[in-house]
Symmetry: C2
Subunit: 218 residues, 2 copies
Amino acid sequence: MADGPAPKRRREEAEAAPGPAAPFPLGSVRLRRLLRDSAREKAAFVHGQVVGPSGEETDAVLILEKTPFQEEKIEELLRTHTGLELQMRNDIYSTAMPENPEIKATVVYPATEKHLQKYLRQEVHLIRETWEDYKSITLPFIQSQSFSIQWVYNILEKKAEADRIIHENPDPCNGFVLVPDLKWNQNQVCLLLLLLKGCCLLRGSTEEMSTFVSLIAC
Amino acid sequence: MADGPAPKRRREEAEAAPGPAAPFPLGSVRLRRLLRDSAREKAAFVHGQVVGPSGEETDAVLILEKTPFQEEKIEELLRTHTGLELQMRNDIYSTAMPENPEIKATVVYPATEKHLQKYLRQEVHLIRETWEDYKSITLPFIQSQSFSIQWVYNILEKKAEADRIIHENPDPCNGFVLVPDLKWNQNQVCLLLLLLKGCCLLRGSTEEMSTFVSLIAC
């Protein structure tokens, strides 16, 4: 409601009003179609129709959303769902489905202090940065914060995720390997993230190895 | 992984690597703290520690995420969770918790064709728009798409959401009513959306009534 168009005056709106509200009978709703879903926000927007006693159909929109985690219940969640079914593992990163099919878990283990800092809630500031600031402050910080990319070498050397390779180009310099990203939820093609991992470095080229992420849009 | 800092060469990274990967024993993890959570994405980033056989503690990051809805299971979901507990209702909008505590539902009923269009998956285009285009094409379209704001009058006239009013300023011209937005999930203060509804129009002023949304940041 709040992000809809700007409100207008009441008298101009009267004819557009969809009539008085009625209680919503979920039990008698017929699913017409999925209007849209958001795998990122775990929400689905559904067009339904409610069939009245004399057979007339009335449209409804149902916005279904998974509920967020509650901090005080996370400990209990970890204690009760100990049966993790490992889906994929590469270096310190793994994805797993707990017994509870409502939850997906990604694990970084063992984690360094830098990993903890990466996921910690951060305060956001707006700053004005000169080229000198970037060179003398920002760039050294970025370099000091970078993570091990052993997981990339594991893919290129087929030590991990070999069964997930979608495409491989063996060209000595421009070759690359295409694999689904860890963030992909394994069943929604709309959110298929692909990692393109160049292999120049391994093959002795002087060029930097590069990693790209592409999103397959529907 | 993919949105981390740019990859560096392997030899510079060797000393930062956190050692060989080990299977993750969720059963023996101790919750240290919640690093961050995202109510919008239904995700929680947790700092845990795994206690080894000789008592040594190893850090881990657990990223817990609710799983997205699967289109083919929505019909079954509607059929099996018919017991909606109504939380709030105003005009055609209502929020409800199904029996399943993992799901929150927002219902628009009865819905017009404009509501269906609002929630339908849209293709996104980038266009260059002149002031003339805005006046002759965009503005008439926005005006034709606007929704009834009966729900705003229901709040101002205390016909709905009267028990949710957080603050009311009765000033004849600058008065306003402050209520939580429908999008608020009722338990996370970090995501408390507030609607500020000016009451000039109702009190006979010539000024337009305005609606603002504020987000209480943590």
